[in-house]
């Protein structure tokens, strides 16, 4: 069971790592802006190929090690768990190290060959784009709040019925493995955690909505389509995640009130379904992004390029730009979005619920 869950997570993570260079915009190679006038540089293609080959081979090796060691370390489930996580991190370390090496190389090449040095940099905006934005409206993210509030009231009404020991942690097979003495706070800590997560997801979608729709100056129509669809799919993804979390936590909370629900691994399918939904939505998003990706047949012959924002990207991974009002921007190496660390709004949207969440778990553990 443990191996099954882990190897699925591992394979999905590996697949995403392998294809990242081919999912992100072609004008960004290993976190470095490449002017459209240079996108077809032969060195870039080789780097991406080598990255995928090396990560692929080492990834498969770690996977084999994972399976062999799982049976070798069989008596101790504790050791098994650690080793499985170790293999996952080893694979990620290989891919990040490789990323870092190629990031430096592309930077060097860009400097040596003076890419984009004499090209005018512009920022393009479609003033009608906002009216075509199809992100889901806020009620989709706020309705689950109602479920949480109802659950808290329900818990208080059935407080006497709850057993004296409340489950607060569940193992990978869906069975509770940690309990606390019953108090009013412990009884509702689960719905409170759920509320914070729902807040966070609503905040993220709302901030993405307020963030920039970025166009590629030489591929306006295609990039607009990519942006509008990405925003739409992202809002759908987060909506599913928010609703799935709500269902999962509601079931867990109800199983605290009615302990008979947990007998005989009955919660297992819910855990598996939840995992499938989380990873499935990431995979679908990555696949959609790949299809929406603006393709370049050749180097673009144009006198303009998009604004080179390399100096705002620390290591090509962390975005810090005081001038940019956007809270979230698309990742340069990875699937999804990342925060503008210079924007205080991001800290409120992510940080505040996370802090409260940590406080709740700290006091209820």
């Amino acid at each position: 069971m443990l191996l099954g869950v882990f190897s699925t997570v591992y394979i999905i993570t590996l697949a995403l790592q392998l294809f990242i260079p081919f999912i992100v915009r072609e004008t960004i190679a290993f976190g470095v802006t490449v002017p459209e006038q240079n996108v077809k540089h032969p060195v870039l293609r080789n780097m991406k190929k080598h990255y995928t080959q090396i990560v692929g081979i080492s990834g498969v090796m770690f996977l084999m090690m994972m399976i062999v060691s799982y049976y070798y370390l069989a008596p101790s489930e504790f050791m098994q768990g650690y080793f499985l996580i170790g293999c996952l991190f080893a694979m990620l370390t290989v891919s990040m190290t490789l990323y870092w090496i190629y990031h430096q190389r592309v930077l060097k090449l860009k400097k040596e060959e003076q890419w984009g040095l004499n090209i005018k940099q512009v920022r393009t905006v479609d003033v009608t784009a906002r009216s075509r934005d199809e992100m889901l409206p806020w009620p989709f993210y706020v309705v689950p709040f109602g479920v949480t509030v109802f659950l808290i009231i329900f818990t208080f009404l059935h407080y006497d019925q709850i057993p004296d020991d409340i489950a607060i942690h569940w193992g990978p097979s869906g069975e509770a493995d940690s309990w606390r003495k019953k108090t009013y706070f412990i009884a509702i800590s689960l719905p409170l955690v759920m509320l914070m997560m729902q807040c966070m997801m609503w905040g993220i979608v709302d901030s993405i909505k307020r963030s920039a729709i970025k166009l590629a100056v030489n591929r306006k129509e295609e990039s607009l389509e990519d942006q509008l669809k990405s925003r739409k799919y992202m809002s759908w993804n987060i909506m599913w995640l928010s609703h799935a979390l709500t269902i999962l936590f509601t079931v867990l909370q109800l199983s605290n009130i009615y302990p008979s629900m947990t007998s005989g691994n009955r919660l297992l399918p819910i855990f598996i379904l939840f995992l499938c939904l989380v990873f499935g939505s990431v995979l679908i998003y990555a696949w959609k992004k790949r299809k929406l990706r603006v393709e370049y047949g050749n180097n673009v012959a144009s006198e303009v390029m998009d604004v080179d924002e390399d100096r705002y990207w620390k290591g090509g991974l962390i975005y810090v730009n005081r001038q940019d009002p956007s809270v979230f921007v698309e990742k340069r190496f990875g699937v999804g979005w990342t925060m503008n660390f210079a924007n205080p709004r991001g800290y409120i949207v992510i940080g505040l619920p996370l802090l409260i969440l940590l406080l709740i778990s700290f006091f209820s553990l």
Binding site: K120, Q121, V122, R123, T124, V125, D126, V127, T128, A129, R130, S131, R210, S211, A212, I213, K214, L215, V217, K220, V304, V307, N321, Q323, D324, P325, S326
Partner: protein, 131 residues
């Protein structure tokens, strides 16, 4: 309508925004009654401060090109609403002067300058690809 801003240009960004919106109206890409994006979202899309866009919208309102309404945002005025006043004409003449002066000093004739004006005018009447 697409807008193109050069962040590194010597021309302030708010002036570029004003100019681009006026050009869009002149070309007919923005029609009377069309709504401009909200200050907040245009600022986000351009990656500039909200005040920059706000300044530009207020400039456009002063010029009589848009109306800013509290709820519905910035709307392009109809041709009747933006009728040319003598004050506007005076203002335009004033802005034109330095250019004509430069032309005169360099030896351009009145015909040449008139031809130039007509060319700019007719160029704007041909709907261009992109900006």
């Amino acid at each position: 309508m697409f807008m193109q801003i050069e962040p590194q240009s010597d021309v302030p960004i708010y002036e570029q925004v004003t100019q681009q919106i006026m050009e869009g109206v002149a070309r007919g890409e923005m029609k009377p009654g069309d709504t401009l994006p909200s200050v907040r979202s245009l600022a986000a899309d351009l990656g500039v401060n909200m005040h920059t866009v706000n300044k530009s919208y207020h400039e456009l309102e002063e010029k009589g090109i848009i109306t800013i309404r509290a709820k519905s945002g910035a709307i392009i005025r109809s041709t009747e609403e933006r009728a040319l006043t003598p004050e506007h004409l005076q203002q335009l003449e004033k802005s034109l002067k330095p250019i004509v002066v430069e032309g005169m000093v360099l030896g351009a004739t009145a015909d040449q300058i008139e031809h130039m004006m007509k060319k700019v005018f007719s160029d704007l009447q041909i709907p261009a690809e992109g900006v």
